[in-house]
């Protein structure tokens, strides 16, 4: 009787151990690699990646700056602008952004590329970053009125989203002064 009790106890232990083994096995699957915040700045730029509500990004119609209207004669830039626009239309905003960053690498002083990037960031609700990119585009645009008007209109949309109607109005005035 004593022996049988021991046996039952041992079998019970085996079953428990076996169960444990099963559980542990699933625990061996590696946890996903840490999803840190994509901040890489040496000096920090937290504000730039913060998102703001802008409603439905698709409601916004970009102003009339088509890739062909860009000042470049570089077929590579035109192709990248085209790819980025297509990606945007398909809602692949990350792809659009990295395509435009490729274009920045090739023509870093092309205001159209910076303008397009500003739009992508605006659609991604990174409104402060969109303003900065549009300002950068404005600096590079020099006498290219069309792009500057577009930049100011985008900045006014951004200011609205940031809850700054005065800033938005001022940006609209800048746009109309140029037209």
């Amino acid at each position: 009787m004593h022996v049988r009790l021991k046996l039952i106890w041992l079998l019970g232990l085996v079953v428990v151990l076996s169960g444990c083994a099963g559980v542990s096995m699933h625990n061996q699957v590696p946890a996903p690699v840490g999803q840190g915040h994509p901040s890489s700045s040496a000096s920090g730029d937290e504000g730039a990646s913060q998102t703001y509500p802008i409603g439905d990004p698709n409601e916004y119609q970009q102003f009339d700056i088509s890739p062909s209207a860009s000042s470049t004669g570089n077929a590579a830039i035109l192709a990248l602008l085209d790819t980025a626009r297509q990606a945007r239309q398909e809602g692949r905003l990350d792809v659009a952004a990295s395509t435009l960053e490729r274009a920045v690498r090739i023509e870093p002083r092309n205001p159209v590329v910076w303008h397009e990037l500003a739009w992508v960031r605006f659609q991604q609700k990174q409104v402060r970053l969109a303003v900065s990119l549009a300002e950068k585009s404005n600096l590079l645009a020099e006498q290219n009125t069309r792009i500057r008007v577009s930049n100011w209109l985008l900045i006014s949309e951004c200011e609205e989203a940031l809850g700054n109607p005065v800033g938005a109005e001022r940006a609209r005035e800048q746009a109309s002064n140029l037209q």
Binding site: V3, A21, S43, D94
Partner: protein, 778 residues
Amino acid sequence: MVKKKVKTKTRKRPSRARKSIVQKIRTYLGENRFKLGVVFVVSSLLYVIYLDYVVRSQFEGKRWALPAHVYANPVELYQGLPLSVNQFESLLADLRFQNVSRPSAAGMYRRSGDTFTVKTRAFTFWDAAESAQTLNIQFSENKVASILDLSNQQTLPILRLEPVRVGSFYPSHKEERVLVKIDEVPQTLIDGLIAIEDRDFYEHYGVSLKGIARALLTNLQAGKVVQGGSTLTQQLVKNFFLTSERSLWRKAKEAVMSLILEIRYEKDEILEAYLNEVFLGQDGVRSINGFGMASVFYFNQPLASLKPHQVALMVGLVKGPSYYNPRRNPNRAQERRNLVLEEMVKLELLPEEQQRIALSHGLDVSPLKRLNNSRFPAYLDLVKRQLARDYQEEDLTSEGLNIFSTLDYSIQTTAERLFKKTMDALVKDYGVKKGVLQGAMVITRREGGEIVAVIGDRNPPFNGFNRALDAIRPIGSLVKPAVYLTALEDSSNYTLITPIEDAEVSLMQFSGELWEPKNYDELVHGIVPLHSALTHSYNLATVKLGMDINVSKVKRTLERLGVNRPIKPYPSLLLGSLALPPIEVTQMYQTFAGEGFLTPLRSIQSVTSNEHERLQRYPLTVRQTVKPSAVYLTNTIMQEVMTKGTGRSAYQRLSPTLNLAGKTGTTDELRDSWFAGFSGDYLAVVWLGRDDNKPFKFTGASGALQVWSAVMGAIAKEPLQLTPPDDIEFVTVDESGLLADESCSNAVQYPFIKGSAPTEKSPCRGGLGKWLNRIFND
């Protein structure tokens, strides 16, 4: 006698005792046969359960620790890209392309004059997958003339080549693997492997007695070891779970575990694990594991595109990767390969025709180009530190991450070469004691903040103290542009021509000591225009200006330029007592190069998982932190530094059309030599000094600037064009700073922030010059 007695006693006593113990054990065993049987069975069962747990947990968990690979920024080819034929060919060599007469597989090319036929390899980036293509790339006048897709004869506007792999982060044991799925593996490889290593693989349950017998027979017939007796499952178990210890106990354990593996998993799962696990070679300290990696290591091609003679060579390697090493022992390897082909034909796994073709081939092994994992140690250190904010060390070395850096392979290698060459020349020319001069350099793209090269030692490939990141040294006159920028932002009080007094300064410090700085030339220059004071790096004028505008304002400007370290707003800050490492100086000057927009420096673009899933993006961000018009004015002075001031020797090496902007920096007693400056396309910062912080022989101009010029001369292609912001106007002024016009002699046009230009008219306006003008024009 006594001794003998004692001896007898000692002999008899244990014998009697032993007898009684043995008897007791026998009795116990006899009485408890059943109980002991149960204990034995249960312990064996428990042990099997334990082994089952080990097999399952490791087989279903993370099977291999995969190193992370770091890639350089890919080269993008497009029509008009400045790139010589030789540069392109060298790029292909870096990408391990083979120059052949008829490119038949990805990773091969043929050059005929200025035209290349290239078969590119497929590569998955973080944003898109680039497919393998066959292209015709033409060059003309050191530029890319056209890129033609030969599959459809269409011109490609842009081609993104696969990136050069510049380093890896390994786990403690350096195993290199390219994981393959069973359906990606050529059938000939599976057939060959089974034919040679385990013919009954699909029939046995982990251990094959038939296999052992057949191996024995075959080996006896051949007079040497041709086949092994272990099944593939046993080999996998041995490599995967056990040590290489040779004992019966390990063999038994191997058999049980093989059985468990076979019961638990499908044959194809076991085979796939084997294909990825097997050891197939050694590359320095890295071991080459699995057929996916071996295919790259020996043939520089993906596994799927291997031909039968290459597949057979790899199958033959399983038996002894070192003994049959095709690079070291080609004859032995070829003999083994031919044997594999023969066995495959015997078993009707390969048609004879194919065997004939395969035998006609040589080994076809690609030349060994050893991957040095610390080729760019300073840069990889930067990448690792940036990643350390987002990843655990273990993830970095075991998850098989793909890290897409911003490193420009060509610029990094060019910079390393010229940095070392110029430093060696400086040491020789100035008779500096060998081995004491150290240096660092950081190069970024002018726009976007991408770090393209980092050098942390006078011998760039040396993996030691990374001075680019960790040599925190006073920046000397590199701080001055921030002082003048602060003044110029206050346009109602300061313009480029505002007179500044360069006179003796004596200030009482907090310590009670007097601070009496001097100019480098130990002279006093009296009243000088603001722009000249910076151009010639006058200390006294700078201190006077800085004290007038308030040192704490300069501190705030430095922070807005991107300096993150605590800054003490003491007057000595105005002459660069602030200590920064080269990388942080670069961040500060990036805001000048970016015309008032702070662009955080980046060394990584994106990180993807081993399955190419995007994990992280490190995007381009900008933020306007300083008034662009004031930066514009400061940058024009930094251009003057290069034409008339302390940086002018740069144009002995460089074309004046580059319109460079820059600033020299020298600290007390010539302890540090700095130069920071930019062209239209790149910003570079150089520091030279001694690790023990002792004085040496160089000023910023005679030391760091020479290194800077040598490197920039090779990499800078674009002239610096400064864009005047809307609120900048150009006004002509005479020597005394009064409003002049074209009729005034010695009048110069300067940029002013609107509303700040002088309004008082010069008496020369409308004078003789205008009259003469009118005569000649009429």
